[in-house]
């Protein structure tokens, strides 16, 4: 689906063709579920959250002003839903069992070797104040694109840069505490901001 196709699908939905929304769902289901997973680290909960995001988008489709790309608007809607959901149900508990990364192509031994660190990283990330956690989650989700992260959060990019810088510093300190002295001193973070 091209950008124009997306707009065409939106137009059809707005004219009353509910079935046309299926094209939007097909196109954006994976990114929205992946973004939800970054917030909650629970596959089934991620799908529930993504479904709620699609429903919210369906209800609010007429509010898309077309000044920004449809994807920008959709991610902003989804981000609001996910943040509200986490506020309502609390931050996820990232257990040691939650260590397997679905994208891993490493062998099992290497995965286990790395697992504690990734689990610690996720715990540290979710222990951050929400404004820093959200900025970090969206920044990495959008392939380290500050502008897109800012659009999803609905804040200026300067704010995102400041939150990224502060969030990384807090994350680094939490990881030092969690991983202990065996990790050795961490290098200074070169902030994106």
């Amino acid at each position: 689906m091209t950008v124009d196709d997306g707009v065409a699908a939106v137009d059809r939905v707005l004219r009353g063709d509910v079935a046309a929304f299926a094209q939007i769902v097909e196109r954006w289901q994976d990114p929205l579920v992946a973004l939800a997973y970054r917030f909650c680290h629970d596959r089934s909960r991620a799908e529930d959250m993504a479904q709620e995001a699609f429903l919210r988008a369906f209800r609010a489709l007429h509010q898309w002003r077309r000044e920004a790309a449809f994807s920008t608007w959709l991610f902003a809607v989804a981000t609001n839903v996910y943040r509200a959901e986490l506020r309502r149900q609390g931050a996820p508990l990232v257990s040691i069992d939650e260590i397997a990364d679905p994208a891993d192509t490493l062998d099992v031994a290497a995965e286990h070797e790395d697992s504690d660190r990734r689990a610690a990283l996720r715990r540290a990330l979710h222990a951050l104040p929400t404004k820093y956690r959200d900025a970090l989650v969206l920044f990495y989700f959008h392939d380290m694109d500050v502008e897109r992260a800012a659009a999803s959060l609905g804040v200026p990019s300067g704010t995102v840069k400041a939150r990224l810088s502060r969030g990384r510093e807090l994350l680094r300190r939490k990881l030092v505490t969690m991983l202990g002295s065996s990790e050795g001193p961490l290098e200074e973070v070169e902030g994106e901001a």
Binding site: Q29, D30, Q51, F54, F58, E183
Partner: protein
């Protein structure tokens, strides 16, 4: 854990997560359910505004006239208003106590006429939707 490791780990996080095969179908079922539910009828502020404004004017006029009847040597305004309100309440109480068919019908007409400016727009909107 070095900063570039953190970058890599966070960038890679959830990159392999995909929606399950029946996810889109489940979403569309929910969307169709949502589409079947009629949207809530918004309050017709534009049509109700004249009625509300008229009601407010009547209220202001009533309080103003109550205040002005208290005379030049009257006590401060608020107590006078309260005093008149008490008088009106007493009169209402008396009239309720001595209601006959005529006073009851007058009260009914007054209440019905007061409700017209507010209820009429709602009825109009409903009838337009129904037709």
């Amino acid at each position: 854990m070095k900063p570039d490791e953190i970058d890599r780990a966070l960038a890679r996080d959830a990159t392999g997560v995909r929606a399950s095969p029946d996810f889109a179908a489940a979403v569309m079922r929910a969307v169709r359910r949502e589409a079947r539910v009629p949207p809530p009828i918004p309050f017709p502020w534009t049509r109700a505004a004249p009625g509300i404004a008229a009601a407010l004017l009547i209220l202001v006029f009533a309080f103003t006239s109550l205040g002005s009847t208290s005379g030049a040597g009257a006590p401060p305004r608020a107590p006078a208003v309260l005093e008149h309100a008490a008088e009106i309440t007493a009169k209402i109480g008396n009239s309720v106590a001595s209601w006959d068919a005529r006073s009851a019908s007058i009260w009914t007409v007054v209440v019905a006429l007061s409700a017209v400016p507010v209820l009429a727009p709602l009825v109009l909107v409903r009838s337009e939707r129904g037709s």
